[in-house]
Symmetry: C2
Subunit: 250 residues, 2 copies
Amino acid sequence: MGLKLTRPHKIEYYECDLQKNVTLPMLISILIKVGGAQTNELTDPKILEDKNLGWIITQYEMKINALPKQEAIVYITTEADSYNKYFCYRKFWMYDDQGNLLVELLSVFSLMDLNKRKIEPITDEIIAPYQAEKTTKLKRFPKMASVENDEFQKHYQVRYFDLDGNGHVNNAHYFDWMLDTLPYEFLQNMEPKEMEIKFEKEVQYGDEVCSIAQYDEDLKQTRHKICHKDTNELFAQALITWKEINKDED
Amino acid sequence: MGLKLTRPHKIEYYECDLQKNVTLPMLISILIKVGGAQTNELTDPKILEDKNLGWIITQYEMKINALPKQEAIVYITTEADSYNKYFCYRKFWMYDDQGNLLVELLSVFSLMDLNKRKIEPITDEIIAPYQAEKTTKLKRFPKMASVENDEFQKHYQVRYFDLDGNGHVNNAHYFDWMLDTLPYEFLQNMEPKEMEIKFEKEVQYGDEVCSIAQYDEDLKQTRHKICHKDTNELFAQALITWKEINKDED
């Protein structure tokens, strides 16, 4: 059990989709920023900078009870729960202003040498301020079913503004590519309920990616992969479970 | 002189580029939301909804003294300055926490019949709550020099998440298309100082747009146009004046 931090956020019109629900890419960004705020509060950024290290995210597991709407005030709580040699497990919760749990996110962070682009061990010195529990256990995630056909497919070019202050493609953009590949009518009628994503390799500026998806109507699940358009190299894969939008709610 | 409203905003990491400066698309969104906040405070949304009307933006004129950086707290003031039969001139100012003026934006709003997609006259009843000055004068904007060659060119497909709650392509995305067309090295070394943009026609979901730009090194200006990839129909044109990024500032 690590230290917790809670921050409010107002959902703005430019963070929302056609249904006035927050978009999945913005939802991820809004949650993750509270992790950044905790790091800013608890640690001296020079410790990582001097070693040329940066936190990267390798995996998400998310459960969405309800997507917050435009103009809603939400509260995000985060906690660096536990860590082992190579992974730190950070949790996020988003609540509405009545205290109802809207979204739960488990994220897996690793430390990367930003020059060598190589994963480095997490030292006790770096993690101590968060008071996360040290464990030798690796959390096992269910194996993700691979995409077997290219029912839906689109190409995307990495844009300049997809790059953040670390020079990475901000991982929220992967959700934009994954979801935009699904048909318009699907996105208008369905909303995500659960989501797992695994980032395999960093996309670089100038890369053109191929976003491939297939839909299992019985399970109401879409399987996704993002790969290099030319080399077919795998960048990320995901599994999203959907529910129909209840149009009466509005 | 209309009523003014001021709101704070914190610049988040996902609103910033590689240089940790706010991006032009996010800067526009952050300013415009304060106009929306004023409308929410002063007016009953049902008045427009019942008439099937919505505000659209047809033009911007912007002056940037300095781009706010990641983590900065800024203050945005807005005022519906004046209006005539078809146009409302709304001003925005962004200040840093010392009261220094960072950004000035003049925007031109019109009322659109959302079913017919046609501009409608602005009635006194609709504009009264803002206390904007009524004028018969049309503000004249300098004629924009057209793009004469396609020195830089890229294609973009409108994405599902480019659409906002009004079913429009949010106009901030035009800046993403315009700027992303410029070379990486250019965007790394230059930042916008002044910007004019005119929106000619709405881009629709499913459209593929062509973003064309040319650079005049003497004037340090880029000319831009966004047009339909197949029909060549003009969606927007812009003129941006640039300055070199002062790398010593960091």
